[in-house]
């Protein structure tokens, strides 16, 4: 739906109303900013020496923020790769012709989709890894973060695979079967390649979710960006600036990924390829193709 159809070109009265609403909006933002600045000034958080280290002191980046970003990326990258594998296996499992396999994969996927990621991380860390010696005490938090993220996001990817295959025209599978391929061959060489292309934008969007959720590692002592900015905040006595910079870094990375995802999506739809969206809106940062 395009908004331009909805209203006429504004006349003098509507223009005045729009100007008043614009002024109100700007006023609201200015008021909020004023309150924020005032509060920060009262708490002494706007002093130059609190913000200067981010520019002048290389140690801030070298010893805190870059290791933090690295921790976040490491957990996210390993998780998205494992989640992809998990999702492929269980997504194909849900398409199986064997009823038992289909049911088993369905139950596993639905279970891990409805359990909060933090619950899985806490169980994996305090319940398993910190009690046994599967992982050394340094890698145990990372392993727990990766476990939680893989199980949840793998289940989401499995749903993506399934809806990707279902969204293909029926003729594709029929054509494959009629030239003598077995159902498994049809799935592998005809349906999956198209489904995987269609889910590419949603997969990049899922990476944003993984990056954001890796911050949950804070709770189980995993050293990612949020945890490092807390340390930074106490080392330089600039707690508030440290969190603000961390938030900006997160927004920068995630927003760029969202832009990449929508570019890929537009490119695919220009080539006449369909794209699939994930069922859960909260975890699908990619905008619908028909956005106003």
């Amino acid at each position: 739906m395009s908004t331009s159809v909805l209203f006429d070109a504004p006349g003098p009265r509507a223009r005045r109303r729009h100007a008043i609403l614009s002024a109100l909006g700007v006023l609201l933002v200015v008021a909020l900013a004023f309150v924020a600045v005032r509060k920060m000034q009262d708490a002494g958080q706007l002093k130059a020496e609190m913000w200067k280290p981010f520019v002048t002191d290389r140690a801030v980046w070298r010893d805190y923020l870059v290791p933090g970003l690295w921790g976040t990326f490491k957990a996210a990258l390993v998780s998205i790769v494992l989640a992809g594998a998990f999702g492929l296996v269980f997504g194909i499992g849900r398409l199986s012709h064997v009823t038992a396999v289909r049911w088993f994969c369905g139950i596993v996927v639905e279970f891990f989709r409805s359990v909060p990621v933090l619950l899985m991380m806490i169980f994996a860390y305090f319940g398993i890894y910190s009690r046994s010696d599967i992982f050394s005490s340094e890698t145990a938090p990372l392993a727990a973060v990766v476990t939680g993220l893989t199980l949840y996001n793998g289940s989401v990817v499995a749903e993506l695979v399934r809806s990707g295959v279902f969204s293909l025209p029926k003729g594709q599978a029929e054509a494959g079967l009629s030239i003598g391929l077995t159902p498994a061959q049809t799935l592998r060489s005809i349906q999956l390649p198209q489904a995987l292309t269609a889910m590419l934008p949603a997969l990049i969007g899922q990476f944003v979710v993984v990056l954001k959720d890796s911050a949950l590692g804070y709770q189980i002592t995993y050293l990612e960006l949020l945890n490092w900015s807390k340390t930074l905040g106490s080392a330089f006595a600039n707690t508030v600036p440290a969190y603000i910079v961390a938030a900006l870094l997160f927004i920068l990375v995630n927003y760029s990924l969202t832009v990449v995802a929508s570019r890929v999506e537009r490119r695919l739809s220009r080539r006449g390829r369909p794209t699939v969206h994930e069922a859960t809106a909260v975890h699908a940062p990619v905008e619908p193709a028909t956005a106003t």
Partner: protein, 221 residues
């Protein structure tokens, strides 16, 4: 096993989870609708502000917002929402942050509902001579709300699950209690299964309800 059930107040912890979910759901619906109205309004400044809101809060981890609310807002900036009680302050901040974070997703859910209405509907309404208000009220919004049911449902389910993030600021909801029990008792797997099933019980009916509602109310096209 029965020992754990009698020693710890698991139902109470889930009660707090539900409490957080209900109040943040109301908060995020109100705030999210406001942002959605801004994002589809004809005033370009308001549209821009709405877009900023969504881009900022959709791309920030909820964990960061939670941690900032207590370590930054309360301790440094002195914004205490319940001066008499440290736990009460954390609970109220958790509701505020959950509402702010999910409002961005509610806004996108509502907007995607608006996007399900074909342009022809708006054109037909305008061609009949309905004003902006009339075409909104009688033609577009009734269809848009029906289209938004499914995405709103998944936002609500995600909100229920995300209440666990409040554990990072010490709110004694389900995830927090599970961490305590797992640290003190043996049989971690059984404890995890109890809590996981608790969340399945909370989210499964919501999912079924919203799916059947969105099917029943779907606009036939």
């Amino acid at each position: 096993m029965g020992d754990i059930l009698s020693k710890y107040d698991i139902l109470g912890a889930f009660g707090l989870t539900v409490y957080l979910a209900v109040f943040s759901a109301i908060g995020s619906l109100v705030l999210g609708t406001l942002v959605a109205v801004m994002r589809v309004s004809p005033v370009s400044v308001l549209r821009l502000l709405g877009t900023w809101y969504v881009n900022i809060f959709r791309n920030t981890p909820l964990t960061l917002l939670m941690v900032f609310s207590v370590l930054g807002m309360t301790y440094i900036l002195g914004l205490n929402l319940d001066p008499s009680d440290i736990k009460g302050n954390a609970t109220r901040w958790a509701i505020v942050m959950l509402s702010i974070y999910h409002a961005a997703f509610v806004c996108e859910a509502l907007r995607s509902g608006v996007n399900t209405v074909p342009a022809g509907q708006a054109e037909a309404a305008r061609a009949m001579g309905l004003t902006f208000g009339q075409s909104m009220r009688h033609v577009l919004l009734p269809q848009a709300f029906r289209g938004a049911i499914a995405p709103l449902g998944s936002t609500l389910i995600a909100l229920v699950k995300n209440t666990t993030v409040a554990a990072v600021i010490g709110v004694a909801e389900a995830a927090n209690l599970m961490a305590v029990i797992i640290e003190n008792e043996t049989g971690a797997l059984a404890v995890f299964v109890i809590f996981a099933v608790g969340f399945v019980i909370l989210t499964l009916p919501l999912g079924l309800l919203f799916t059947s509602m969105s099917r029943r109310l779907a606009v036939k096209r």
